[in-house]
């Protein structure tokens, strides 16, 4: 029976399987057989080994014989599924990035995963971290789908900020590229991109020039070539995995070239995330145009949109009713039936399923029943995951009181004269040159409002383009194409001759006031530091030198410095002698300034959103003080003063956050700026004009809160999602460091003889790791195939110090971080898959009761299944059920999973389980688990099938609409050609029309094939857990 090559397993550790080598020895009466286990060989007494017929042992047979395996069997098994799968109930990006955990920041991630169009508009209010939310979505896509190509499109001013954030928080090494370079990137296969790279472009840098479609080669330019290339590839294989558009409201005007750019990019991107603090106002076209980018097929005709919303209306009420404890299911059902009567929802299989099902909501699990019902209703509404929005008032993580104090500084005579003459010179220049764009002219005056001396000095030397200030002051992104030089030379010639620049410094009223304030404060609070903002670089340098003269050490933070801004901030923070940070708002974005509680606005941007953003730098998560002080400085009796009084104070912008009005404010402020600068208004007229704006903004704000309430159609029910996020976090539904460690260790021990895996400290997961030559070579080959260069030195076969840390850290540190994205983990995943390794499916585990407080002490029998659903997309889910040995009560699916998950993380072997348990009882209870899972499975697969059917029919309709849209467009062009007599071009256009039709057929075919929804389930693991 026990001959060479026989496959055996150990009686007391049945997960350990090996082959007999044919050698045996005798000791006393016992015969010992040598067994080769792969990782080692050893002699085992005859009573310790038994034959294994095949690898895929029947778990029920094992159960009957109580052949329990060990904790490592469970860990290996679950980690492998989690790391190689696409589990629906796991948030892969959680705790893997270099960001603090805030539940609301995962709302967009979960919404995005549910979004039927692979698009999402994130419309959070300022200061909640939209950048981080977008980064988390990218991280999730990388983990789930090995996404490679990320493109961020943002205003030019924010490119550096994005680069920095992506690197430090998400381990993405992004390059800033122009149209030409981007085109080169897009021409390459996106799957060939290196992992962890990204591209950042400015909107202006990519915007197609007017007439880019014309076949006039004399107009050739990189932007034109890029636009044409994207159009050619629209609707075919995607060129970009994820497109992130920051400050997306710039794209909202459908007639603009910027919006055209948005459409072109959208059509070549697999996934889209738009970021904007746009208010969610259904009555405004702006929102519709942004949604059109997120999901062009659902939001294609503006006029149809209200109908869709109307159809959804009863669904919204049904959802509210489901969550309302006073309503019964039959009441909810009535509303669902009302919804069903609308033609758009008549065909909904999910809705039909809901109405026909017999749902019980009362009983012990009422709350979770109601939430589940609400969630199912929400899934009927396919538009519900298009927008994700969090408002500051909803965030409970921090609350800070703002205490503003404004100082209006009287100008001295020289200053007054200088101010007036510059104002006049600008107006003259505007009149003579017939310039109506106020924002260009605003620059010089905004500069002297900041600091007269700094402005005067800067005009003497090289003049910048003013773009940066305009962005920070007025919120306008004008790109880098224009130049202020002619205007400045005009001022220099007409004004500067009569000005005593040194006097401006000697008697600088504003600085003197500032110095008094700041010196007093720093004296009274020797431990504290202060942030000073200005939109004008020259002002910041000027302040630095003057503070220096006064013996106060300061640090300047502006864009384009040699050190990273994080380095600058770190040095500032840890240098006790440095007291004042002089910063521009954009430069300080994304860095942690919450260690300051006093902010000085040395000048005041006219755009209230920009003021809000400055305050938001210290009034944000992480501010320890309960109260922050905001000191504003501005010249008395100037436009700034009037804006302060009539606009800012009225809106209360220093006391409370404005909410997301950025887009709308921009327009208002632009118009206001224009009028104030270019038109020769009297003081009274100016006041009136400012009042108008204030009123308009006030009205917008009121409307907005009203409209917000109506917009719930589009926003997934935040509460439910937030609950999912909390559950995922609390119950560790994520890959932990220990998981990765066990996974790697196990693999090395089993398949890499001669490796080194030496832990340096007992309480830290830091190891010296060396792979044996063969494994190193295999890893190297894997890295080449998958283009994972520069992420690990393990493939060289050298000893590498590694830390298991499921975080995406910037590369280049001395210790290699091993996260779920590390090439070694991906390599192991692939290798285990190709080996088709069977995992031992029955375990016995002990768990201290301190680890799971929610589950009473007892013995539990459990079963875990993997469900797999294939339709429009492939989804997997691990489903578990556990039942109590003493009461026979079955735990809920969530509770069961929580128990098993904690056992996985904190448990230990329960070696005496077989001796202590009654096999028949365990078998019976595991049957109960299976029956319960079977019931769940039927229910869930029916729901999923309905959902799939709805999504398919929705997509078919979308595809039809899309085709019609395309055909219309081509027809129009064709007509134009005919009228213009460009007959030569007609055949090519007709070819395009054929292509559209062909593509539609293909799409229809593919959707049809996916409408066959298939599902299957596999046993993953059974076992017993003893909570002691």
């Amino acid at each position: 029976m026990f001959t060479k090559g026989t496959k055996i397993r150990l009686v007391s550790d049945p997960g350990r399987v090996g082959f007999l080598t044919g050698k045996d020895r005798q000791r006393g009466e016992t015969k010992f057989y040598q067994v080769d286990f792969g990782d080692a060989s050893s002699y085992q007494p005859d009573y310790e080994i038994e034959l294994v017929s095949d690898d895929h042992s029947d778990v029920f047979e094992l159960l009957a014989e109580k052949k329990f395996g060990r904790l490592t069997d469970l860990r290996r098994n679950l980690s492998h599924i989690q790391l190689s799968g696409r589990l629906a109930n796991l948030v892969y990006s959680m705790e893997t990035t270099n960001t603090d955990f805030y539940a609301y920041q995962f709302k967009p991630v979960l919404s995005f995963l549910e979004s039927p169009s692979n698009g999402l508009l994130i419309a959070d209010e300022v200061g909640l971290g939209k950048t981080i939310e977008a980064g988390l979505i990218w991280t999730e896509l990388r983990a789930r789908y090995e996404a490679r190509r990320l493109l961020v499109v943002c205003p030019a001013m924010l490119r550096e900020k994005w680069k920095d954030e992506l690197k430090t928080r998400f381990g993405v090494d992004a390059s800033i590229v122009d149209a030409d370079e981007l085109l080169e990137v897009l021409r390459r296969d996106r799957h060939e991109d290196e992992d962890g790279r990204g591209y950042i472009c400015s909107v202006q840098g990519l915007r197609p020039p007017r007439g880019w479609r014309d076949d006039d080669s004399s107009k050739d330019s990189p932007r034109r070539r890029l636009a044409r290339y994207m159009e050619e590839h629209a609707d075919f294989e995607s060129l970009i995995d994820l497109l992130i558009v920051d400050e997306a409201h710039y794209l909202r005007n459908p007639e603009s070239q910027t919006a055209k750019l948005g459409q072109l990019l959208r059509d070549v991107s697999e996934n889209v995330v738009l970021l904007s603090a746009t208010p969610i106002n259904l009555k405004e076209d702006d929102l519709f145009h942004l949604l059109n980018l997120v999901d062009p097929d659902s939001f294609d005709v503006k006029e149809v949109f209200p109908l869709v919303l109307m159809a959804n209306e009863p669904l919204q009420r049904a959802r509210s009713a489901a969550l309302d404890k006073r309503s019964t299911f039959s009441e909810v059902k009535e509303l669902l039936e009302e919804a069903q009567s609308h033609e758009l929802l008549q065909g909904s299989a999910q809705l039909k399923g809901l109405i026909e099902s017999d749902i019980v909501i009362n009983g012990p699990n009422e709350i979770s029943n109601r939430i589940n019902l609400a969630n199912r209703i929400e899934r009927v509404n396919l538009l519900s995951h298009v927008v994700s929005r969090t408002r500051k008032v909803e965030v409970t993580e921090w609350k800070v009181v703002r205490e503003p104090f404004s100082e209006f500084v009287d100008m001295n005579e020289e200053e007054w004269e200088f101010y007036q003459s510059v104002t006049d010179a600008v107006r003259d220049y505007a009149a003579v040159n017939d310039i109506s764009e106020g924002f260009m002219l605003a620059s010089p005056q905004r500069q002297i409002s900041s600091s007269m001396y700094a402005a005067a000095m800067s005009w003497g030397g090289a003049t910048g383009d003013g773009a940066e200030e305009l962005y920070e002051d007025l919120g306008l992104d004008i790109g880098k194409n224009r130049h202020l030089s002619p205007l400045i030379s005009h001022i220099s010639q007409s004004v500067m001759d009569g000005v005593d620049i040194r006097a401006l410094k000697r008697n600088d009223s504003k600085y003197n006031r500032f110095y008094k304030l700041i010196a007093d404060y720093l004296d009274s609070f020797p431990e504290e530091k202060v942030v000073v903002f200005s939109y004008f670089r020259a002002t910041l340098s000027y302040l630095a030198s003057r503070l220096n003269e006064a013996g106060i050490k300061s640090t300047v933070l502006v864009g384009g410095m040699k050190k990273t801004k994080q380095q600058v901030i770190d040095e500032f923070r840890h240098d006790p002698t440095a007291r004042v940070l002089l910063s521009s708002e954009v430069a300080s974005e994304g860095v942690d300034l919450q260690f300051c509680r006093v902010l000085v606005n040395y000048d005041l941007p006219w755009n209230p959103m920009k003021v809000e953003q400055r305050i938001g730098r210290i009034d944000r998560i992480g501010q320890k003080a309960n109260k922050i002080n905001i000191w504003n400085l501005c010249y008395a009796n100037t436009i700034d003063h009037r804006i302060h009084e009539r606009l800012f104070e009225r809106l209360g912008i220093f006391e409370r956050a404005l909410g997301g009005m950025e887009a709308i404010l921009g327009e208002n402020i632009k118009a206001l700026t224009n009028d104030l600068i270019c038109r020769d208004l009297t003081e009274e007229q100016q006041n009136k004009r400012i009042d108008q704006t204030a009123l308009a903004i006030e009205r917008i704000r009121q409307d907005q809160s009203e409209l917000e309430k109506q917009a719930s159609h589009l926003i997934a029910h935040g509460g439910y999602i937030l609950e999912q996020v909390h559950a995922a976090h609390e119950f560790k539904r994520r890959i932990t460091e220990e998981d990765l460690f066990v996974y790697v260790k196990d693999y090395l021990e089993k398949f890499c003889q001669g490796h080194q895996f030496h832990q340096l400290k007992a309480d830290e997961l830091v190891f010296d790791v060396r792979l044996p030559a063969k494994s190193a070579a295999a890893l190297d080959d894997f890295i080449r195939r998958k283009k994972l260069f520069g992420k690990t030195r393990l493939s060289t076969g050298e000893t590498v110090r590694c830390q298991f840390l499921n975080k995406l850290l910037p590369t280049g540190s001395r210790v290699e971080g091993v996260s779920q994205f590390h090439p070694l983990i991906r390599f192991i995943c692939e290798d285990l898959k190709s080996r088709n390794e069977a995992f031992y499916p029955l375990v016995a585990i002990e768990l201290p009761s301190s680890a799971v407080t929610q589950v009473p002490k007892d013995v539990y029998v459990f079963a875990v299944y993997l469900w797999s659903f294939t339709g429009l997309r492939l989804e997997e889910e691990l489903r578990a059920r556990a039942v109590s040995l003493s009461t026979g009560q079955v735990l809920s699916a969530d509770q069961s999973w929580e128990l098993i998950n904690f056992a996985r993380i904190e448990g230990s072997d329960w070696l005496s389980a077989a001796a202590e348990l009654d096999g028949q009882v365990v078998e019976k209870l595991s049957d109960d688990c299976v029956a319960e899972i079977e019931r769940d499975y039927k229910q869930v697969s029916r729901n999923r099938s309905d959902e799939n059917a709805d999504r398919i029919s929705f997509q078919v309709q979308s595809a039809q609409r899309h085709r019609n849209r395309q055909l219309d467009m081509h027809q129009r062009v064709l007509e134009d050609m005919r009228t213009a007599g460009k007959k030569k071009l007609i055949p090519a256009r007709k070819g395009l029309i054929n292509k559209v039709n062909e593509r539609f057929e293909v799409q229809l075919e593919s959707l049809k094939s996916k409408s066959e929804f298939s599902h299957s389930q596999f046993e993953v693991c059974f076992g017993v857990i003893s909570i002691t």
């Binding site: 000791r27 007992a762 063969k774 072997d909 070696l911 001796a915």
Partner: protein
Amino acid sequence: MRNKKQQLVIGLDFGTAFTKVVIGETRQAYGVHFSKFGDEGNQYLLPAAMAIDSSGICTLNLDSPKTRGVRDLKMRMLEGDFSLDSKAESVAYLALVLQYSRKWLFSKQKRIYGRNYLDWNLNVGLPTHNYHDEELVQAYRDIVHCAWVVSVTNSNVNLEFAKRVLEGKEDTGSNQDRFIHPDAIGLFPEFVAQVTGYVRSPQRQEDLHALMDVGAGTVDVTVFNVYHRDGEDFYPIFSKSVKNLGVFFHTRFRLEELKYQGRWTPHAQDRALSNREFAKKVRISQQQLAEIDRPFRAKVSRQLNDELRYTKEKRYRMSRRWEEGVPIFLCGGGANVELYSGLIDNLEERGNPFKIIRKGLPKPERLQASRLRAENFDRLSVAYGLSFDAFDIGEIEKADEIEDDTVSGSATKGGPIFCPVCNGTGGAMAHGCYKCGGSGLI
């Protein structure tokens, strides 16, 4: 499931100063915790001493009233004292250790083993250089066997009874079923036990290694090979030396240099002081202390390098480890003493004519010893190695059985000449060893 047979192996490291016990089975091994009998600083260490009362009843409780203490049990045997009294004392002591260890396992792991029929095995370590002293080995074997018999016969361990068992005068027939089969007692050189834990760990590497065992009295340096043939492990020893450069001699050397004798007499059982503590005690600076240590440190360094040089020049010239660095283990009670650990670290970092790489002996996952700090694992490493089945503990090939290296091959014990690159394993790489093409022989 009742009365399932379960193999348990007691690994017993009977040391000069302390005894350590690990009980193993295929899944786990348990470090025996001696609680109040154990050493204050580390209760996994049991002093090699007991107390005897006037009626001959022995106990591990050294504070027991009206008793006399017995020490140096192992030392006397190693020095060739095989008198009945001495042997009986060892039997009694080991019987107490065995009783305690089994009782401890049952109190802690009753749920696991309480219902099993237990198949006991006992592996005991022997000083490596005495392993070939047949008289000693036989005496040891007798003692261990008698100790088992005594341990299962009465709950009280009596010295007179131990003597009678040793002399074969005691009829123990009624307890036969609790006796251990003579084959189930294994005696192994401590060196092999020490290496076994490593060789049976996933970190195992083949080819050349060195081990420096720092004891109270001696420093043992062994340069050896690890290789696997037909599923068995072999450790050919190329070179070894034992010198009186241990912790005790180190302290004595310092005191002599400081002309401090008389004021302070060191003992082998003393806890080694750190440099800082020592310097403070004798009121000199640590720099001065380092200066004083210099000649002693040079001697230890020379001992290691002499063995490496001899191996490189005469024994195993072709090892790839001369290029890559020879893995070296530092173990024994003195391994944490700065002079020795610092010396190895220094040689590793600064370079040496012979490149070395210090290897730690990580606490294996199989070992359950919750109160053992990871850095103290090396104190249990011999007992741990002995807790494997005797068949799985490798064999040494004595230095004098191994021929010197020739130009074409490495050291072998006659017969076929093993490839010096893969040591007869054929190589772990996919295409096999580059020198022998995977055959393992040249």
